[in-house]
Subunit: 394 residues, 2 copies
């Protein structure tokens, strides 16, 4: 073994093993001598041998088989044959932002020769488990999945461990399970929520309420950004103005919130409300409008996800003030990152996962917000109420 | 209003208001003119007036009273008189790391004239709620609190909102609720777990298992660091080797894990196990030893929190390999940060909260780990098995 001055011994070993492989003294699939044999052959410690071998395993040049030993990786590691099927598992399929996301995924995967196995969880752990079992059965080449109730402990972790162990590339949408080192494409929910709450503060609102989902991490982080903005401006943080809900309450939460305040005097209710998403915001606007509380004149309402034109129009002239969601672009980007991960995995690259891909937070001002009058109700909108950070959608 | 060239109008307004206060034209507690009056007086838009006032509120120079208007802050904002009582709420009081943490807190607060109201939650939401109500009743000057089951949605958020709204300084121990912008003092649990798992990999282990708590964020992040390390080294991630548990299972989890493997052949069980903490690790070592499975000869075990000498000795000669926990120092630092926050709050500073205070991750090698023999069992310890990143405790 040739040793350059000052070079650590394990680096020399690495170079030696590389030379064996280049010279085909060791061919793909062949077993390395034992650590003890290598150690005594080169007069180095077993610890040093292990350090060198770990590094080469890490680089994907060698691999270990439990109880057998260490082997030379083939250029494309032997694996189950490609099925050209990618599983896409979202909470919902045909509603809200999901058709656009799925179209985005499809627009990249189809031209690359993949078909899509489309599954949904309805944000339910049992359905997620069933979906994960289907994914394993079908031996898909990769998985794009949106976590289910990411803010509570997941009972299906063992299935994810199996997928990771089988080296099936995974990317996640909107958030990740905090236990799992899996790459995700997401919004910055804290920043988005600060942006939309700041918009209300800039419009003079001081009694600001909110409705947040509490069983997924998006809702948890949106609540944090909301509270942080109120704290920064030393505005009132009134517990009765802040309502958290879980998935099961989704269809009733806007009613619950409205009922709390429908008989209150204008002074005793919030003048502006941050809603978990445009779906909830749209329902709440409808309830206010049909009960004689005018939006944005008496109350401003904001949401997330920019669902115009599918949400209700405000006074037949505009949409809900909201935060942009990349939808189709999130789909295309997710598919691209998954295809990259599949390529990497075929090349036998290490199991390291990439950084989260975070989309920018962009405020989309609409007709559901207005600046407040001194009296506590809101004045007519004037163009100067739009902060410079806001970007109009084209 | 004097305007320097190019200076934004709201900055000029800010300087003008500062001048009013310095010249005592406006005294502490006095009300500002309405936004409309200021706008017409200076010929600027109400939006600009609001921007300037927001900034001064943010700086703690002005404050708003809902429905009344904007006022000049007194140098020390009027607040409930100091009680010189600090509440300290931990999950446990007399066990494990908690006596040391509480001694650390006491060592700083006592000399500063504070007495301590000591409460515990036993990681139970009902007890946490009762404690928070006591904290509000006693009108404490500040709160040091360890979150309860931080990995599941907290039902007591409204009480935290009330405390934040009352401007009661809070610092958290070990982790924070992800919904709440509250400063915390913590370990880097992902990094610590990577360090302790890497120690096992460096010792040649390839079949590594783990026991992790799933209802607090420390356990969630330790699981993540563990899985990430196995992925990086392309080691087996065997679902049956990884066990998650919740608080109620605390006293039985080591037994459960041991029972899974007590009848397995050595080839079918992990050769090393990462435990959520030294308490679990100590129990597991005891179960192995008393059933003829030698630690570290047949199985290596690691923990977190460095509870020597309170955990079981290994073969009467050393302790469990673990990650350092600052204990007393965490207590003193928490008390210092809280006292700073109380000072800031008395000066009427803004509600911004500081960055998390993160203690360094330090591996403490012990006698419960050893490097593995080719056969799959472990060899006798040799000093070269200690990685350079490890730091011996004094």
């Amino acid at each position: 073994m040739s040793r350059r001055n000052g070079e650590p011994k394990y680096i020399m070993l690495i170079n030696e093993v590389r030379a064996w492989i280049t010279s085909e003294k060791l061919r793909p699939g062949q077993q390395l001598p034992t650590e003890n044999d290598i150690a005594s052959q080169f007069g180095i410690s077993r610890q040093t041998v292990r350090q060198g071998i770990n590094e080469l395993v890490h680089e994907g040049i060698l691999y270990r088989i439990q109880g057998k030993g260490t082997f030379v990786q083939s250029t494309s590691r032997e694996r189950t044959p490609a099925t050209n099927v990618i599983a896409v598992v979202t909470t919902y399929i045909s509603d809200y932002i999901f058709p656009s996301i799925i179209r985005g995924i499809e627009s990249v995967l189809s031209p690359n020769g993949y078909s899509i196995l489309l599954l949904s969880t309805h944000n339910d752990f049992n359905e997620e488990r069933r979906d994960l079992m289907t994914v394993m059965e079908k031996q898909v080449d990769g998985l794009i999945i949106e976590p289910t109730r990411s803010a509570i402990p997941n009972p299906n972790l063992a299935h994810y461990f199996t997928l990771i162990d089988r080296n099936i590339p995974i990317v996640m949408l909107h958030t990740t399970y905090p236990q799992l080192p899996i790459r995700c494409l997401r919004m910055n929910d804290v920043e988005s929520s600060k942006l939309v709450t700041q918009h209300l503060v800039d419009n003079g609102h001081v009694r600001i309420g909110g409705i947040f989902k509490n069983d997924d991490r998006q809702g948890v982080f949106r609540l944090k950004g909301f509270v942080e903005t109120l704290m920064n401006h030393r505005l009132q943080i009134e517990p009765t103005f802040i309502h958290v809900y879980k998935t099961e309450e989704k269809s009733s939460v806007a009613h619950q919130y409205f009922n709390k305040f429908k008989s209150s005097s204008p002074d005793a209710r919030p003048t502006a409300i941050v809603c978990y998403n445009d779906e909830i915001a749209s329902e709440l606007v409808h309830l206010f409008q049909t009960n004689g509380i005018l939006v944005p004149d008496s109350v401003s309402v904001v949401g997330f996800d920019n669902m115009q034109p599918f949400t209700r129009q405000i006074n037949n002239k505009g949409w809900i003030t909201t935060i942009e969601h990349p939808k189709f672009e999130m789909g295309t980007k997710a598919a691209e990152l998954l295809l990259e991960a599949i390529q990497e995995s075929r090349k036998g690259a290490s199991g390291r996962y990439g950084e989260d891909f975070v989309f920018p937070s962009i405020l989309v001002p609409g007709s559901s917000t207005d600046s407040i009058r001194e009296s506590g109700s809101t004045s007519h909108k004037d163009s100067s109420s739009q902060p410079v950070t806001a970007v109009e959608t084209p």
